[in-house]
């Protein structure tokens, strides 16, 4: 397996270390000279100095082989977009994963067809919301390729779902309950499962059905 990593900051260098330790062939490209020298000291010939948005630099990194995977993890979203586009559309790299630094740029990655993205800020925000369940509906996981998302809601005493069997709930189309957690113990939700006040209910649904689901479960 051959991996090209664009961006040798904390994210890129840690991924490079892990991959090299597990015997994968890696090239990590970094444009800041001081940072590159640190990478070279640790990774030797696997480190390369250059701007990974330049086609000649990517070619020196072996983009034409092509690599099995390109990771565009610089601190600049425009750069990550361009690197991913050149890799996928110019060189037929089967998989390019891009880092989204500013979550507001997520829609631009989607628009330009860079569907495999990772955004640390969005991930952290989701975790923060998870810690504040009274916030309503918490997005736990987005399955972008499947077009589905996994969400969690906390049921209260006055919620319409409290005291109801799962089978008796009027859930919106394109949604299904996955599990019910009570006193720290989770159970798979089946038709006979009864939902109690205080339960944390996990559901899977198609984007767009969030409001209807929230109304059906917690009002």
């Amino acid at each position: 397996m051959y991996v090209v990593i664009a961006g040798g900051g904390k994210v890129g260098s840690n991924i490079a270390r892990t991959l090299i330790d597990s015997q994968r062939e890696v090239t990590i490209v970094e444009q800041r000279r001081d940072r590159f020298e640190q990478l070279e000291a640790e990774f030797g010939h696997s480190a390369m100095l250059g701007d990974a948005t330049e086609i000649a630099v990517l070619e020196r990194a072996g983009i034409a082989r092509p690599p099995d995977l390109v990771l565009a993890v610089t601190g600049d979203d425009e750069d990550n977009l361009v690197i991913s586009q050149i890799a996928k559309e110019g060189y037929g790299v089967p998989k390019a994963i891009a880092r989204v630094n500013d979550p507001r740029n997520q829609q631009t990655f989607d628009l330009l067809g860079i569907t495999q993205t990772v955004c640390a800020t969005s991930g952290l925000l989701a975790l923060v919301e998870h810690e504040v369940p009274e916030h309503g509906l918490v997005r736990l996981l987005e399955l972008r390729r499947e077009g589905l998302e996994v969400v969690e809601v906390q049921v209260h005493a006055d919620s319409p779902a409290a005291g109801q069997r799962v089978a008796g709930l009027a859930l919106p189309e394109g949604s299904r309950l996955v599990s019910v957690m009570r006193n720290g113990v989770a159970e798979i939700a089946v038709g006979e499962t009864v939902i109690r006040p205080g339960d944390q209910v996990v559901a899977i649904l198609k984007p767009g059905a969030e409001d209807k689901l929230r109304r059906a479960l917690v009002g």
Binding site: I55, D77, E78, Q85, G90, R104, N105, T108, L112
Partner: protein, 142 residues
């Protein structure tokens, strides 16, 4: 006809003034509010902000623009903003300045209208030297 100009530097501001003089309804976008001074006595629109920002593009009138010129000082920003204007707002005439000839060629193939001043300079300079050479050869042989 409406045009949005992203990046109001030497190039963007000159294009904006030219188009406005020809009767276009022009709005410029630049991160630096001082860029407005490059436009002189300006009657068109001017929005301070980044061209990657959806709200800024819409404030500048991207939704119903007929043409867009993208000429900020960053090639990759121009590439991305140009594609946003083309794909999200379906602006038919989007022209993007890209200084790196390799990236300009690549994105031209992907369907972006690119202008590469570096390539123009390379061609013009090479041609100029060739023309001198012809002159020199003529002097020597003539």
């Amino acid at each position: 006809m409406k045009a949005v100009i992203i990046g109001c530097g030497r190039v963007g501001s000159a294009v904006a003034k030219q188009l406005a003089g020809e009767g276009w309804d022009v709005t410029c976008v630049d991160e630096d509010e001082n860029a407005l001074t490059r436009l002189g006595a300006w009657k068109g629109g001017f929005v301070v902000g980044h061209g990657m920002d959806k709200d800024i593009l819409e404030e500048a009138g991207a939704v119903d623009a007929n043409a867009a010129v993208v000429a900020t000082d960053g090639d990759n920003s121009n590439i991305v903003i140009g594609q946003i204007l083309q794909r999200r707002y379906s602006i038919e005439c989007v022209v993007v300045r890209i200084l790196d000839p390799a990236r300009a060629e690549f994105y031209e193939k992907l369907g972006l209208r690119t202008v590469c001043p570096t390539q123009t300079a390379i061609s013009t300079l090479t041609e100029a030297v060739r023309a001198c050479e012809t002159g020199i050869v003529r002097q020597v042989t003539g």
